[in-house]
């Protein structure tokens, strides 16, 4: 089986792991909402000094934009440098995989008093992730304080190529200014 480098920077935690055959052979993380820039290279350097990776799997969000982009930019360039495959997956799905219940909702902090969220029935995501105020996210037990599971991240199928932003950039056109 493939030796995978798993990277996720969609939450306040920078997570890096080496996964093979569904097993986490090495993992490390650092917490801090503005730490992704320095944390990610340090973690990956340690990981790849021990293992010869053959693919990169990266969480494409949703998550706070600046940190999210650090992970994606790094993963893309690392894959290019090593000439290995890159896959992007939904970070919320990698969080959901560790929940034991059947029907539930995953939320992560989206700042501005909102959350990114997705609903799961029988453990499978229903619809696309969204961003809402917490009061508007109801209908199933909510799991709010989890981080992506790196083995689950690698196990997810598919390949998302664009970051999951869910919000437009804040900007007002000159012509529309009051």
């Amino acid at each position: 089986m493939t030796m995978s480098l798993a990277i996720d920077t969609s939450t306040s935690r920078t997570s890096v792991g080496i996964v093979k055959d569904g097993q986490i052979l090495w993992s490390g993380f650092r917490d801090g909402a503005t730490e992704h820039g320095p944390a990610l290279p340090a973690l990956v350097q340690e990981a790849v000094s021990k293992f010869n990776v053959e693919e990169v799997v990266v969480g494409m969000g949703p998550g706070p934009f600046t940190g999210l982009r650090v992970g994606i930019a790094f993963a893309q360039s690392f894959a290019l440098a090593r000439n290995i495959q890159l896959r992007g997956v939904c970070s919320l799905d990698a969080i959901a995989a560790q929940v034991q219940e059947s029907d539930f909702i995953i939320t992560v902090d989206a700042r501005r008093k909102e959350v990114y969220w997705a609903q799961y029935i029988h453990g499978v995501r229903v619809g696309e992730p969204a961003v809402s105020f917490p009061a508007d996210v109801t209908g199933a037990p909510i799991f709010a304080d989890l981080y992506p599971d790196l083995a689950a991240l690698v196990n997810l199928s598919g390949n998302i190529t664009e970051p999951i932003y869910l919000r437009r950039p804040d900007a007002v056109a000159t012509a529309d200014r009051k």
Binding site: G37, L40, P41, A42, G71, A73, L80, P163, D170, A175
Partner: protein
Amino acid sequence: MNEPLVLGIETSCDETAVGIVRGRTLLANVISSSVEEHARFGGVVPEIASRAHLEAMQPTIQKAIKDAGVKLTDLDAIAVTAGPGLVGALLVGVGSAAGLAIGLDKPIYAVNHLAAHISVDYLTHTEPIDPTIALLVSGGHSSLLQIDDITSSITKLGQTIDDAAGEAFDKIARIMKLGFPGGPAIDASARLGNVDAINFPRGLTTSNDWNTRPFDFSFSGLKTAVARYLESVPDYVQADVAASFQEAIVDVLLLKSLVACKESGIDSLVIAGGVAANSRLRALAELRCAKANVRLRIPTPGLCTDNGAMVASLGALLVAAGRSPSPVAFDADSSMPVATISLA
């Protein structure tokens, strides 16, 4: 290593840029700009710039490699702008550069955007330029610097206390409805105008200013003066306003640069940054430097605005000088001081 092969990444503002140099030889300089996406907002929107950087980064790296005719594995080092700039934009470049460096197991140089702007001149001139006075003028910066050694010693003599020179161009162009970015628009309009038509103020040039802050700049008073003029003279001649406004900026920039040369005893001036592409600044600098016996160097217009070649150039100079690379784990620094040439 005299002729290191270095790839440089620049994302401090709205240009996603990758350059490759071998020593002082430019091999590739690829720029993808999101400027058109910002035009309708009248300025750079950080989140739009950051998204565009991520989208453009991989194609830009791959085109640079192709243009240079090298393989990624041939590279001796990666260089990247660590600051100053927009932090979200910088981090896309920093993340990409770190991914390359660790993936290739090559050293990384986290360099200063301002020092890189000056170092690009080394690509167009073979002999060393140090020591020199440097005038760095762009949309985000206006500084006078003394460069004793581009790889180890840069001293800030002064800087703008309010708007950057390029910012003043943008703001006046917006008021005159000439579009964004304002520099090229005003430059073009000014070619048909009279530089002496209106006597706009030269910031920080009173005798008290010369005593207390001789090398600082101020452009906000000029901006207000132009805005007032436009209000009070509804049938103004656009070309004359553009030419007179541009002259006020260019005049004071060169005045202070040449005083810095004289006072430091350094008879060399480098002008760098996006505003160095301004045709009036280039022409007047040549005249005045010739008169003052100061050797003038200005990079070609294409290398004045933000680019990756300048980052690669500074990286190559650092490698050639035997400077230590940056640690693998470093953070972007939105307000990186110019004295910090690369992160240690």
